[in-house]
Subunit: 353 residues, 4 copies
């Protein structure tokens, strides 16, 4: 018979946590959603009723519950450190949405706690590693057919962001951070220097906000990455990369949809695909594959998959340096602690689906 | 708590049945693989051991077992009628790989047995209905934005087929039949006439085999379908369509992969995507979505999804007419029995994933 | 020094003739526009004044003029026979817009007059032969790398046609005729049978007009062609083909423009190219290359290039058969006269630009 | 009658000069090739014989000849200053291949001589301005539909360069310089700062050569440009850009050929276009359109078209700064002289063909 089910609790039921709870309740083999927890008791209860699961008193009680085998953390970033450390203390696998924590030092505390624990329990939710195109690109680069990876060009566009309280740094911290992890994943290498530049901003950005931004990463092994992040493009969600190697290149995300066409209703005259409004369509499958792989890793006892606590720490450290560079426009070096032997450079590769 | 698991048995463990057994054992939420059955006892036992499930004595014993809630039939086509009728007699949902049965009359017997049973238990494995592009095209055509569907152009190519014992009719029966179902699904209408023509064949076909073939379908509502089926294209697996409506068109399958690129290793000079070698990569996700939807339908008790016994019967009837047309090159009318009220024209639409 | 200039006269200054006159006056090396003729004297004089050329009394006077070395005929089709025969009688090269003449017999009279003359003087304006994609496809098919051509799928769409006086036959005679010539050019073979079918028409066609239409051609050598012609697609001008050979395929016209993009102004959300409103953008370069090649052929004395009088006759004969088939929906055989030795199957191949 | 012919002499008959001579002898309306000059007398005579034109003793004699109305300079860069100044002194229009001259000061001397002459006679051969995609992109950006241009991403790849004597600076001077002009053309603005960075080089570059390189341009109005130049990509000639504006983007050069396809001969499995081996196929039409527009400008007396002496000077100045930046990896400011009123920012826009 198949291995027993993994009983999963979800902490935080905002958009991302609700999405994960529904996924666990309906699309993930070998998992059972057993509990949700959220300070907003009303919201949590409504979700739990809908999905037929329990509501627990508080996140730490959920982590401690003997009915919970593993935890998905979709709480706000400032709550992550305490909750992840509680999971480590309880010896329970945890899938923590990015960012791992709010700054380098707290992320490093998580890394050290996990090293002390001795085995990997923490997965950080950089879901792109499970996107078939990113995973296949890494696998193809790994075959050596195209030689060594030299350059990576990343593009990341959102139709718009809410303007209230939005600050330029949030482009680095919340959007560019995905490109940090993608670059580390595709190069299998660390970022050692980051420069963030900005052109004269679009009129669609809030007053004083630098949007778009262009960031450069230097990798430890000599690779170079250009990034465009533009969060008020007015068009839609576009995430693309071109990886340029010694003997060929790979481009992902070019065709935003597989279904193409024309429509006279749209004013006639255009032939092509649709640019989706947000990330959910683009990365829906990556999230499914990520959570399934995480559950599979727990069921078969082979340990954590995907981005590690080290990857979460490194991403935070590069973001921190990026925010410093944004303030000055000059290159800022990234100084990482020494990598414990528990971690490879960029965690385990992911099997191509 | 979530609804109880569906305990599934798989009959036939050739390529397709093994694929389904692995899917049920690892990727389908809410299902448990509990048994496999196959006349080849050695093959069945090896698979059962690997997946941790039982081997049952014979297919009908599996169907009858009180431990089996639902059945996947991946046995040879000639065995389907008896096995599907046994499932109906036992009141168990069955996902039957195409063809439903080997000829119109036996398919009609299945339809009548299901009508007598009174509710739909049979799903025929036309998995393309669950492919995101086909499903979305049907949904978009259903919105009316592009007006009425007028024409459909289908292309279906395989790199090659085994030449021993291959006959021209098998292109109609095994390949074109998918285009029959796709056409019925996208038009939501029946095929009333079929013409199968053939050019001078490729030198890569076996002696006497007419490959490629071009088939025309006339739909009851006046729509027209052109189909190319070419099973020795030497290139790879290409399945595409262009649906031409009054105010716009939709094209699916054009970009065979989302990851594009160049490679000097491939002789340099080419920019584009990869044509996959066979159907498994193209439709892997459609199979997953199909089986998940089938299991979900059983768990929530809303009944069968996907192609119905009626759809299976209609596909068989069009294939039969197509084989007759291939022999003469002239149009052959498709005469269907009256459709019982249990069935819509082309089964329920599928939600766009 | 370069060879002397070719002095060209243009007969008929409607849209096409005006276009040719402007081309000859400004973009064609080695040619000089010396005269225009048109029954609409006002229109002809206005054009002549603008381009600095002469107006001649009538078309036949222009043909006869000692100042005219070669003639472009853009007069209405019913006037072609007399004017082409006059050019032949005068021994002057003539580029005659399609159709060569209005029916098979008159086209055959032109063929016979040219055979009597003994060398080719007539070029029929099937400009697609000079479109870089069509020319390159023929050249690539000629290399044999992809084996023998088996199937050709043509698509021809116009945004709309004027509805007054439009009849279903005009789709065959004026639009499908281009596909006839393209098919003969790419197969280097004759059409021997044509079938024209029609689905239930679009609501955007005029009352009683069958639009779209699907035509099938059987080639003498066993090839098969499917054609879609849709002249009220509401979208724009789309001309595409896919040529399917034994070991690979070639697709032209897929990307309607080389410049791609997004625009929030267009409602956001679409990524792709523009579908041009009419043929002028799609085939502007083909017309330039055609006329330049025609002039070059005259200057260097190597004789006529492009589609021959035979090609014009064959296109007319297939169209005639197509109109007959449209009336019945059944296949109609094309019976050509014997091909004089002056002509190859489909005229000379065109060098890839 | 049409205006008289422009009698053109070509100086320098290497690859580029031969190409221009053939173009003038066969494809340009209103021009006559009357002379060629080259220190390599044998090569010049062979070409002149083939094209039926004269060989003149030396470049300055050609410039001075009363039989020459206008001059195309395709001599080595170091010879340009003297020859262009001679054309200015003779009052003859000159199309000078890039670079205008070898350094900022000599380029400025040309600018000042032209200002003294009082009207524009110099066109610098930045042919991309005549490429339909670049011209249309500038026109579309000019409509304002997409708002202001914010970012430009340029990619420039060559299959390989001869390794003997190749130095890193040549990537800036000979390749990046095209991106300088393209950026100035699309932004209609000057480059004020340039940074040239390099990753660890490809193994296919010569010892010590930094290839690929990434350059950043800051434009006077706040725009930002990223450039990749990679001259040993092993794949082929790829020139692309994506222009990112406030309300949409434009991408050119993505589909390297309009004809797409598959071929089993190429190992099967790939679907797409061909990457051309070199620039001739990619920009053949741009060269034709450039020379035709240059000749047309002379015939109708409306003066010089395309990139001006000022554009040539600005490109040289940015290249000089780029070479300085390559040595240090830090940003280098571009200090231009004051722009004389004879010149617009980036010369006249080009009509979309």
């Amino acid at each position: 018979m198949s291995p027993t089910e993994v009983r999963v609790g979800v902490v935080g039921v905002g958009i991302m946590g609700t999405d994960h709870a529904e996924r666990l309740a309906s699309r993930i083999a070998g998992a059972r959603l057993v509990a949700v927890a959220d300070p907003d008791r009303v919201r949590a209860t409504a979700l739990a009723d809908r999905l037929g699961t329990e509501v627990l008193a508080d996140p730490l009680a959920l982590v401690a519950s003997p009915d919970v085998d593993a935890v998905v953390l979709a709480s706000p970033g400032f709550a992550h450190e305490e909750q992840v450390l509680a999971c480590l203390a309880a010896g329970k696998p945890v899938l923590c949405e990015k960012p791992l924590t709010m700054d380098d030092e707290s992320s490093l505390r998580v890394v050290r706690a996990e090293v002390e624990h001795g085995t990997r329990l923490v997965t950080v939710g950089f879901m792109r590693r499970f996107d078939p195109e990113y995973a296949e690109a890494r696998a193809l680069l790994g075959t050596g057919e195209r030689g060594r990876l030299l350059l990576l060009h990343n593009v990341h566009r959102n139709r718009s962001v809410p303007n209230a309280d939005f600050r330029s740094e949030m482009i680095v911290r919340d959007s560019l951070v995905h490109e940090v992890d993608s670059s580390r994943f595709l190069f299998d290498d660390e970022v050692v220097e980051v420069t963030v530049l900005a052109p004269a901003p679009t009129r669609h950005a809030a007053e004083g906000v630098l949007d778009p931004q262009v960031a450069l990463f230097r990798m430890a092994g000599g690779g170079l990455v250009t990034n465009e992040v533009f969060v008020n493009s007015q068009v839609g969600y576009e995430v693309r990369f071109e990886a340029v190697a010694e003997r060929g290149s790979l481009t992902a995300g070019l065709h935003t949809t597989a279904l193409l066409g024309t429509s006279a209703a749209a004013g006639g005259g255009a032939w092509g695909g649709v640019v989706p409004a947000d990330y959910r369509r683009r990365f829906a499958r990556a999230y499914d594959l990520e959570v399934q792989a995480w559950v599979d890793g727990i069921r078969v006892g082979t340990g954590a998959v995907g981005a590690s606590a080290w990857d979460g720490y490194a991403a935070t450290a590069v973001s921190t340096a990026g925010m410093a560079s944004l303030a000055t426009g000059t290159p800022v070096a990234v100084e990482l602690a020494e990598r414990p032997s528990l971690y490879r450079a960029t965690a385990d590769p992911v099997a191509v689906p």
